[in-house]
Symmetry: C2
């Protein structure tokens, strides 16, 4: 048995995944660790999926409700969805099999802000949480848990659950211990200020204390996180990154930002990584990240001495960078802090540290409403994630996207967003490879001009035609022609392209 299980009582609970899965009953609400493919349980999901398949083969119902930090991986969400073992899923997912089941109405998904789910569990909005399944680097002598590569909603799930199953993963570096900062906000009505004033402040403990009597099983594992390689930045990504840096330089020139005051929040993906590569050669120094995910680009910024501290709730690294992190966690924990996602994404702290939020999008409408989640209004991709948490309370909020997708068949700027996740009141800057639209303080008609100017040139005439038609209406604060507001999307559905001619 691994020396990673240092508590005698919990050593007595070690068993196989199959045995542990017997504790998970039909209809249970199960809170799992895991955030952007890091720190999720590696073997229990497969064992639960097997139980489901056996039950279904016997003609019995078996499915559970799955709560996590954010996305997991094919060996968690993927196998569970494949086995039709999930009835309800929240708050974020990105597995293709699960996405398919959600969009075909074979399972249900509730898209909840990442800062909200843990709080909702604490507030009792989901009733009894039956079980928590949480990955750990190790269990301490006192029976506390050292989380692994993501903290997510582990604290809330472990506190709320009737039963706890711990997966101790020896693939995760023991040197992650000390990187975490675990802090519980007192429950209502006794909440107090969160004493973080800058990204690097540590306010809690490095382990999660639990009630050992709730632990029903400890399972040993040795398996890697889902670490997907980043693609090298293409020309479009580089142009978007360049436009974003131009915007930052403009803020410095206007006296609203200093080269040593940039606090970064960044969504996950290749364009954000291109931004970080761009920052390596920029004048910005002493960058801080107050964000939800540590990506390759941030590790590079730390290594280059450009970033002093990165606060997040999880990693999302390429295999090569994950290996580096595993080997050098002792060094990186000097400048990386992993917090519960209720803290990493908390409106109070986000507003206080004054970060610049940068997230991707599916589409923006010409008045600055953003669709982050549902393609053509109905087909959910992954979920809103933390983009709302950061956008709503940022010093400056920005959205970045190529101006077109699918070889030009889809425009990222449309007359009316087919689903709205971020409203005109919250969106400050939108950036494509054609420039940036600074919408701050503008009335809707002035926003439309700016947003059309950064659309792909092929779509600008169509957008201008819509706008001119909308201006023929009776009420012109937010000019719209509702009869053709979704003409781009309807054309896509009918003809496979948003191009109208």
């Amino acid at each position: 048995m691994s020396e990673r299980i240092a508590n005698a009582q919990l050593r007595g609970k070690v068993m196989s995944a199959q045995e542990a899965a017997e504790f998970i009953n039909y209809g249970d609400k199960v809170g799992m660790s895991g955030f952007t493919g890091a720190g999720y349980p590696k073997v229990l999901p497969t064992a639960i999926a097997e139980r489901a398949k056996e039950a279904h083969a016997r003609g019995e119902d078996y499915a559970i409700d799955v709560f996590t930090g954010a996305s997991t991986a094919s060996d968690a969400d993927g196998v569970l969805a494949e086995a039709d073992a999930v009835n309800f899923r929240t708050p974020y997912q990105s597995d293709p099999v699960m996405r398919g089941k959600i969009n075909s109405a074979q399972m249900k998904y509730a898209d909840i802000h990442l800062s909200h789910l843990g709080m909702f569990v604490e507030q009792g909005f989901f009733g009894t949480m039956n079980a928590a399944i949480v990955e750990a680097v190790r269990i301490t002598e006192d029976g506390a848990i050292v989380p692994s590569s993501a903290v997510g909603n582990n604290v809330e799930f472990l506190d709320a659950a009737e039963k706890i199953i711990i997966e101790v993963n020896s693939w995760q570096s023991r040197d992650l211990e000390g990187m975490h900062d675990i802090y519980r906000i007192p429950a209502l009505p006794n909440r107090t200020p969160i004493p973080i004033s800058s990204a690097g402040d540590r306010i809690g403990t490095t382990t999660i204390d639990i009630d050992p009597n709730k632990v029903v099983a400890v399972v040993e594992t040795n398996a890697p996180d889902r670490n997907a390689p980043f693609k090298p930045a293409d020309d479009i990504s580089k142009q978007i990154a360049g436009n974003f840096l131009d915007f930052l330089e403009g803020e410095v020139a206007a006296g609203r930002l200093a080269y040593d005051q940039y606090v970064m929040q960044s969504g996950v993906g290749n364009v954000p990584n291109a931004v970080m590569t761009g920052l390596l050669d920029s004048k910005f120094e002493n960058i801080q990240a107050y964000t939800e995910v540590i990506q390759d680009g941030m590790v590079d910024l730390i290594d280059a001495g450009k970033m002093t501290v990165a606060s997040a709730t999880s990693f999302s690294l390429s295999p090569q960078y994950a290996e580096k992190m595993n080997n050098e966690a002792a060094r990186y924990r000097e400048s990386i802090i992993l917090r519960p996602q209720q803290i990493s994404n908390h409106p109070e702290v986000i507003r206080r540290v004054g970060l610049i939020a940068t997230n991707g999008m599916i589409e923006a409408d010409m008045y600055g409403n953003i669709n982050s989640t549902n393609v053509s209004g109905s087909r959910v991709m992954n979920g809103i994630g933390g983009s709302g948490d950061f956008t709503r309370n940022a010093f400056i909020s920005s959205f970045i996207s190529p101006s077109v997708a699918k070889d030009g068949a889809i425009s990222a700027i449309v007359p009316f967003a087919s689903h709205i996740d971020h409203t005109e009141h919250d969106v400050m800057v939108v950036i494509t490879e054609y420039g940036y639209a600074d919408l701050r303080g503008l009335a809707p008609r002035d926003r439309a001009k700016k947003l059309i100017s950064i659309a792909h040139p092929d779509y600008r005439p169509q957008l201008e035609e819509y706008y001119e038609r909308a201006l023929q209406g009776k009420h012109l604060h937010t000019p719209h022609d509702l009869g053709t507001a979704f003409s781009f999307h309807l054309n896509l559905e009918k003809n496979g392209t948003m191009r109208l001619s």
Copy 2:
């Protein structure tokens, strides 16, 4: 000269409104006091409007950009709009003349969260603020300002403006002094926690210190706020209030709320006032309000011993209650606190105190997205106000509305909201006279069923038809048929009713 101007230097600046208006130049950005018809400057707007009319008569351009706390009155926004003296307005307005000019594209309006505008001014998003025009109860010996019946963005405007004009209004009770709690959040990058843990905490001073050298004019006035009578609650309002109280009782039964733990936020209007009347006879005790506006119903709750403290940024009272407040301000200031709107509406404090937010709406779509601002997508009413500030960070967020408007021609539940101010991620409960739809933790398809169930019975078949049609689509996470998503609104435009048959 009034003994209300106790500072010698500023006594030397007393002049007429006409003289003071000479300091306001064409193109100036002017920050004015005023929130929901309280505490706005009473004479400068008319004097500025006169200047504009004279300039226009001479063939000259003259218009200014007007920033306030929220809505003012016909003798402020109204006269300015009438004279075409406003180029740009933010963050909230409700004057019919101004609304008409905005919707006919004769002036521009930016609809900004009430908690954001002061911060944006501090952050330099609007560049130089040329002037602040602020109503005061009095000027102290030290040259500090005692605000009147609203604090709004006074602090931010007075700090940022190059020139200050003070209106000292002897209509306002001197006993308002002591009711205010003025606190400045340190500027970026040195922000610190706001030390409010419950609605009644006082953390600042009772006056606003200013730079007396920036004061260019002091004008004496004696004029009432715009105090509009509330209509007595009609049957529909009483039914909605009853359903809201049923929801609260359900939360108590579920163990998520105690009778002495209700922290109230309430939008302004007759339905919210009916809710407060309902609370008078309820089991709820020791109610606290952490809200933006003190209304008649809260005064009644205080008088009845049901409400222990009300924190807000302004009053919005009927004439009778305004007179009572003026006469008894010394007593009421024991239980009423007026704060800067950046504090009354701050996400940090809102989330901490765990309030239940209750706001009106124009329409909700069947998935729980809320339109608070633009009728049929284009025609702005008043603005989002503080509804986003409170909804986004509430313990529980709720929206209340009659199920139909305009004698049944308009349904408050529609397939697709024609403008979205609050997204599916933020809206927890929607209440009409037909019941409440508790959307917490539900996937979109389950939300649709609940929302259709509280629509007016005349509209339920139409909504169900739309939903069934949407279910024929290819992607069913958020079922929509974009070709008919706005059919209700298009029918209203064409036939004067949303009824399709």
